[in-house]
Subunit: 237 residues, 2 copies
């Protein structure tokens, strides 16, 4: 059956998009049939995958091909100029997901840094949520608000928005604050924190500037290896 996962955190710049593209590509590399939905009107996931779009392959519905059994729903913002001109149609998105149910194993969704109509659309579409948390000070502060939003979403949309885990990102093990945040997270949230963590690695930034994932651009890098660990943890359930 189709499993679906959304990256959500209203705190900005914590690695939602970077995690979404690596989760989607990593799952596809294991042979699974995967779609990546970019629900952020800013369209960073669409930009970050530019170097992997297969122009010569016929798309399915409004999806474009990123490789064998690997599809992208480009951002609504990629077509409109100003963000506030685009609105989300959750029923249409749900209809698209239903039509793909038998030809996909995984759906991965990226969202903007806010719990507005786009943020909520992501929670409604997916049964699991990963909350990336940057291993820096501000990140802890917004987390309780984010987890409260998830509780609200679960009460409104049955079977959706189950917390798969909190993912520490941009971790720098030479920085005391990073270590403190990791300890804080594990002390406060226990096993809600995933075993995997993503180290800060500028190769991931470089990969993005080439429109590719770390798996494609620098598979030997620490960042790519961290995401490979995450894929293994997610598949092992």
């Amino acid at each position: 059956p189709l499993e679906s996962l959304v990256l959500a955190n209203q705190k900005g710049g914590v690695g939602k998009t970077t995690t979404a593209i690596h989760l989607a590509h990593g799952l596809a590399l294991t042979g699974a049939r995967v779609a990546l939905f970019d629900l952020d009107p800013q369209g960073n996931a669409t930009v970050a995958m530019q170097g992997m779009i297969q122009d010569d392959v016929e798309g399915q519905e409004i999806l474009v091909s990123l490789g064998k059994d690997f599809w992208l729903l480009p951002s609504p913002g990629a077509r409109a100029v100003l963000e506030h001109k685009v609105t989300v149609d959750v029923n249409k998105l749900q209809g698209l997901v239903d039509s793909l149910k038998d030809s996909l194993d995984w759906l991965v969704v990226d969202c903007p840094p806010r719990m507005d109509e786009w943020g909520w659309a992501g929670l409604q579409l997916c049964d699991q949520v990963i909350v990336p948390v940057q291993a820096e000070f501000f990140a802890m502060h917004g987390l309780s608000q984010m987890l409260a939003s998830l509780d609200l979403a679960r009460s409104q949309f049955a079977g959706k928005a189950k917390l798969r885990g909190v993912l520490p990102t941009m971790v720098d093990l030479t920085e005391p604050v990073s270590i403190e945040v990791l300890e804080d997270l594990r002390r406060n949230l226990g096993d809600q924190v995933l075993n995997s963590m993503i180290l800060r690695d500028s190769h991931l930034v470089e990969a993005a500037s080439h429109g590719k994932t770390g798996f494609q651009h620098c598979p030997w890098s620490e960042g790519a290896l961290c995401y490979a660990e995450l894929i293994k943890e997610i598949i092992d359930g």
Copy 2:
């Protein structure tokens, strides 16, 4: 006369809050009378200044004291649990600014990473805007949308939202992508890019975890010195 400056960029995690607190504190250290408004319901600026709040000093109106002639309007979110319970009342905020006009030299405003009612309130209240841009790939992509929003704001609110400049943040001069982004910014935007830039410096993260600015926690650090340069550039006009 009162000068007002808002930090805006709908891209998340680019250093809006970090720049707002250093701009406000830095201007106060030059002897100017300064207020910092935290218009982000997440309240990161309010959290980042926790270590500087003067409990024993009588507040002015709903402002709390951060030091001599240095005030904070705490985030609306600091009081409410879930973000979507708070709404912004721009007329009340404008009324507060008008009542402070004769006792302040500078107003600095922090906003969330979105052009919603809070983002627009910041643009309406301030005559100048600084757009922090992280020296990494995604940052360039959302910039044209942000600059288009500023054009729209200027046409709607006479005398407001003039672009003071784009500020490169988290610059790492050992990283090729950082250098590329700086060159891209200067080539595309010319003198709309400020002369100052903020280097990536983990001391700024550490300072935040102590509820202080770099000026208070580590005035000798590269991050604090970069912000001192910025203050000088802003004051010199």
